[in-house]
Symmetry: C2
Subunit: 206 residues, 2 copies
Amino acid sequence: MTATLTLHQYAQSANCYKIWLTAAHLGIALDRREYDILKGETRTPEFLANVNSNGRIPVLQVGDRFLPESNAIITYLAHGSRLIPTDRFDHADMLHWMFFEQYHVEPNLGTVRFWRRFVGEGALTEFQRAQIPAKLAAGEAALALMDEHLAGRDWFVGQGMTLADIALYAYTHVGEDGGFAVRSHPNVAAWLARVAAEPGHVGMND
Amino acid sequence: MTATLTLHQYAQSANCYKIWLTAAHLGIALDRREYDILKGETRTPEFLANVNSNGRIPVLQVGDRFLPESNAIITYLAHGSRLIPTDRFDHADMLHWMFFEQYHVEPNLGTVRFWRRFVGEGALTEFQRAQIPAKLAAGEAALALMDEHLAGRDWFVGQGMTLADIALYAYTHVGEDGGFAVRSHPNVAAWLARVAAEPGHVGMND
């Protein structure tokens, strides 16, 4: 990889954490540029024009090209590595869990964590508050499905850690921040410990 | 491809349409098995145990293995084809738009269409009805972003149609069903016509 890699990020976002966790496992150097999303720093005209017209982090800058979406970014970084299965079905199954993560985990575990821990319940709109019960239920259903899948398995796909595990680990391992009883799911709890014990692992605040 | 491919589907789901559109472009034969999601046919104990514990369609059955998530399925089908860029950045950028689609398009254009056209406004819960204004605004924002990206470009990634176009086409081309003014975005309207004019294209009800 010849171009400089710059991650436009907010350090408390688990979508961003996925990326430096992947980079750590693969020994890839990343420059990081921090934005405070609570101060609207990703919604400025400059950010929208130059980094991401969607006003969101993370974005990986590869030379003069910009790549949004956390799970696309980790796929870019892990190209040709052990973190992506070479078997055609397993590769697609890895993507299945990454799409599941963005549809069923991040909007529930991630959003409720953000609202409760970073915005604060008192600062939520009435509409946001009204969504919490449904998001708690949907997140709990996602955890139950993950727990069932992990019964008798060490990893989401195949016989070793893949990007599916890294993507799902990010918001799941801090789900308690949003009030989710993550570790009451025994297979999920064991899998979280397994991911954290992998050589090369780094924590979110390391 | 040696195993029989069976698509477990609901024909009015644009997530399912993506799959037979991809298969049509690639000349891949699919068996289809229909479930009426309005009658709960994907929530039966049999479906949950044997097809998808997430209770959702589409699921592609490849021999005795089951693959959920529409965008994972089309990636499986299009493996090694012209619909997936070989360039490392472009490949990741295609995934970027496919994750964008599942996060910003399907939950807005797709969900409001489903509620209004298939469930019916009168049958919605108060909680569902309360979400419509936010989903209309978020879907409109997604369309505006797509329109801006398509200015001066024919396709979402690179110089030809990829899975990013197929994934985004699915719910966008029927967005009017949910009340979205899709074709008031001129670049989106031109791109929709371009996708439909590709050799091998099939419509949702063909």
